[in-house]
Amino acid sequence: MLYREAGDFKTTYAADSQTFPIRSDRWRYFAVLAIAWGVIPFVIDDYWANAILVPFLIYSIAAIGLNILTGYCGQVSLGTGGFMAVGAYSVYKLMTMFPEVSIVVHVILAGGITALVGTAFGLPSLRIKGFYLAVATLAAQFFLVWLFNKVGWFYNYSASGQISAPERFVAGVAVTGANTAPWAQYLICLAFVTVCAIVARNLTRGSVGRKWMAIRDMDIAAEIIGVNPLTAKLSAFAVSSFFIGISGALFFAVYLGAVEVGEAFGIQKSFLVLFMCIIGGLGSIFGSFAGAAFLVLLPVALKVLGVDLLGWPSSTVAHLQLVAVGALIMFFLIKEPHGLAQLWRVTKEKLRLWPFPY
């Protein structure tokens, strides 16, 4: 028995509905938190921060956001890129309009603005379902990108339409701008990730989360047993967009520092975040992290393997990388359609039975 659940009794309902009802899970969770907060900031360097950890953390927030909408509420959205752009441009406008206010406030406000925009674009979901809705959300994607590209006010009329993040400080430490230390970048993202993950977990285990899941699994039945589809769907859009907005804001301000909307928040971004959710596992917070890690690391790993270790020409590696990413996505889906999170769950079930096969 490598993994045990038995002998772990709950005496109250509150204890049973806590985040990690199983003790060993809880310990693992604390260990991860301890390493993330207590160890990594001291060892992190520029490469790990900029190429791996910061994008991983930011994409995790976006993936959690989309997972709420798609994984929990069943509304497939391809507008993530556009909503991230809303977050990015909001935070940019706020940063330049109110330079004296803390960036943390700006990021949260950017999330709020995105939530409003997301809710507005969520309205058609009351009529439109499934892939029709997915395609319809592309309207948001393309429209928002067009808007930020077109209206000079959003990018403060800069010549090229790019926005770049001015330097901002939290507790006297630069977190945006060129002079940000990698650990500062990492920590501010980590802080947001931690809070977002906890909030997401809280929402999904309570009645709000159940409403979403009911809508996802069978919207008609959900409505008949008393779920108001309007509020359920729109709240999912709002919460999801809130997270996505935060991730967009961090993506721009902390990670890239300068963005051009069509390039950074194009349709590819929408797809990427959706992949993360699906590969990681729809309807799972852990899956959002797993998916983000997988898709941030995979290309880097393949490149390191191909170019640095095997010494192949980078163009061949780039093409092979596409082939490999594509093949791996298909392979994973065939192995476990419900994502890495489910793979983990099945592994746990197996461990529980171990050493017996079933």
Partner: protein, 405 residues
Amino acid sequence: ELVIPDLSYRTGPYGANGTPFSDGYQDYFALLNARDGGIGGETIRINECETAYNTEKGVECYEATKGDAPLVYQPLSTGITYQLIPKVAADQIPMHTLGYGRTSAAAGETFPWVFNYPATYWDAASVAVNYLLSENGDDLSGKTIALIYHNSAYGKEPIRTLEELSEKHGFTLTQLPVDPPGQEQKSQWLQIRRDRPDYVIMWGWGVQNQVAIQEAANVGYPMDQFIGNWWAGAEPDVMAAGMAADGYKSLNMNRIQNYPVLDEIRAQVIDAGNGAGDGSNVGTVLYIRGMYTAMLAAEAIAKAQELAGSPQITAAQMRDGMEALEITNARMAELGMEGIGPEFTVSCENHSGSGEGLVQQWNAAEQVWVPLTDFIAPDKSVIDPLIAEDAAAYAAENGITPGCL
């Protein structure tokens, strides 16, 4: 050993353009290694990293390569350039963005680590207008010029300058944005067909160029009134349209012809099996531009070695070399590429060189680009104030006190 990263893109929507450029860039250094044993006795190592024209991958590449004591970055993407501008300043590594990137980086006092010689986007816009002026007896008043552009940061760059110029010379400017990638341009070209502007200037990249040239031919727009900038004037852009593209013009910062150095590359690099590509690109517009960029880097390295007094140099010394760079006709001839680009010098105040470009024309029957003019100077009186204004804004936003290093 000197390390030069090459953030190239051989995949993705712009892979067809990125490949020849990167081949030229790398092959030239390979030639130096093979022929001269490197520069000043130090061999050059290329550190290639694929960006797929994607900013995030560009950042990843930058972070992955910057630990290797690189001398100069050259990302061939306006988007990536914007990411790297603050980063290279913080890391103190120079970046060269030849004819792309942020125009106001010409203001070396604000952007000490970024160089965009020999010319900028705004120079290009001005060169195009100056060319048209010369075609029209120095008078464009009452004429209409349509700008068809890539609807992105890159495509929007010339608008400011062209607007200024339209005011100054009295022509009407109409703007026709095309969303990337740009496969569908029917409405834009129907509009052009109806309005019949006197000239069409194109700021395109990738498939947009091919489609535009094809559509121009379809609607019967006269090719010799259609001028692309220097990123819209390479072989792939015109090949798809076949004979219909005959007469299409574009700017270039290079004169396209068969230079002796190309033969050397063929003999010593390609045939020796050290080519970055299969050699089929040698001599094409983007290949030559890549090679030219490499040459400018090599010259700057040589300059830096001279200034530092040692063959092994640091990135900071490289920057000094770039800032002291001087390209003369004699030197280009010496290098086996006589007249490949304009003569120019770089200084702390001016990182963008002379800003000159020429106009070339596509001969579809022979499948060659034919240089039509000599290097044309831009109208610095219009551009310089714009650069000063933009650089000042950047300096203010980012708390930079301009000054020479």
